[in-house]
């Protein structure tokens, strides 16, 4: 399972999609979606390049765990 950037809307909100092991995407979410944040924390040292780019440009923030 992985995530990638889906698109950025006209209002500037970026959407991300989860890609399941079978290659299908069954979920799209905002950057603050808790399971996406869990995944970001678990994979922060080896993120896909498009996700890393969003972190590098400040669009996406990895939040502290609860």
């Amino acid at each position: 399972m992985s995530y990638s950037v889906l698109h950025t809307e006209d209002n500037g909100v970026t959407l991300y999609k989860k890609i399941d092991d079978d290659g299908l995407s069954r979920m799209s979410c905002f950057g603050h979606h808790p399971p996406f944040q869990d995944w970001l924390r678990a994979n922060k040292d080896n993120l896909p390049s498009d996700i890393q780019a969003k972190i590098d440009d400040g669009t996406l923030t990895i939040q502290e765990a609860d």
Binding site: L6, H7, E9, N11, L15, D20, H33
Partner: protein, 372 residues
Amino acid sequence: MTKAAELAKMGEVLTNSQIGGRRNIIINGAMQVAQRGTSSTDSGFGTVDRFSTSRGTVTATQSQETLASGDTPYSLGFRKYFRITNTGTTSATNSYIAIRHRIEAQNIAMSGWNYTSTSSDITISFWVRSSLAGTYYMSLRSDDGTAQNYTIPVVLSANTWTKIIKTVSGDSGISIDNDNGIGLDVIMWAHLGTDYTTSSHTSNQWNTYSGTDQAPDYSQNWNNTSSATFDYTGIQLEVGSQATPFEHRSFGEERNLCYRYYYRHASDGSNQNMLGVGYVDSSTSAVVQIVPPVSMRADPTAIETTGTASNYGVRQGSGVDVACNSTPSISGDSTSNVFVVNLSVASGLTANSACLGRAVLSGVHLSFTSEL
């Protein structure tokens, strides 16, 4: 018990318990509602509403199961339970697995529990069964301010439904905001590796939360037991020092409470259901709105689909029916009481006109999450 003792007990109950109205702060404690399905290998939410699995370095299946008529909880009106099944084995010290229920802060703040007072109580009761005998632990964890953790020992014989009852007093260190964030996390640990436990941990009292000292060391290892199962139902958290009988709520009422956190907007079994009305803004894109049956806790953070774009479509006037070429996505314009969904097609739509979002197969859904 003598008459005098009975009267004294009754007085105690009247004094210390909330005997009327809504008692159970837990939503879906009887595990009735499972909008997402009945079995999943996912971590997090996957089956039973409001209950998630939290796990690390272990594989497991979560499922909603049906009680047998010979199971003790069945005779008390329960029909469903939540099960986790170990699908691997590991002795890793960072391995853990839990069934988790997060209570919205305002539901604790306004429950009547004076949580900062040592003379004010809540009582938790639940049914639990494990295929592996041993002492397990439940954590009650506050989230606001400096997080506090209260550990409850859960002693189980193998394959035996056991009812656990524990009364917990308040503590001056607890902080609960009156908002829609996390208030109290009820965590039933089937296993917690030694990276997160200590032999000196003190149970049955509030402690400042520490990630490396969440419970005493586990003497048995559920995560290292092939095909081990852990079952859980009938969870009730109520104000007062008495565990009253489980507050059974109707399926419809419980499901409406669940909708605040997750709503599956599904076709009803027939083909070509209409998901929502909207407008076409270009030859390749449309947006539709869906109004949920109840306002959600907060603006939804995600949308779930079947994963197959062609399960969805857009219908315009004059018989124009176009299949989607990507799965629907949630729009940033969505709010807690109106969801806005983006639909994309390859071509063929007429801009600036009305449309319907369609589900073209039975069972197709759009699901919105605002879970804690």
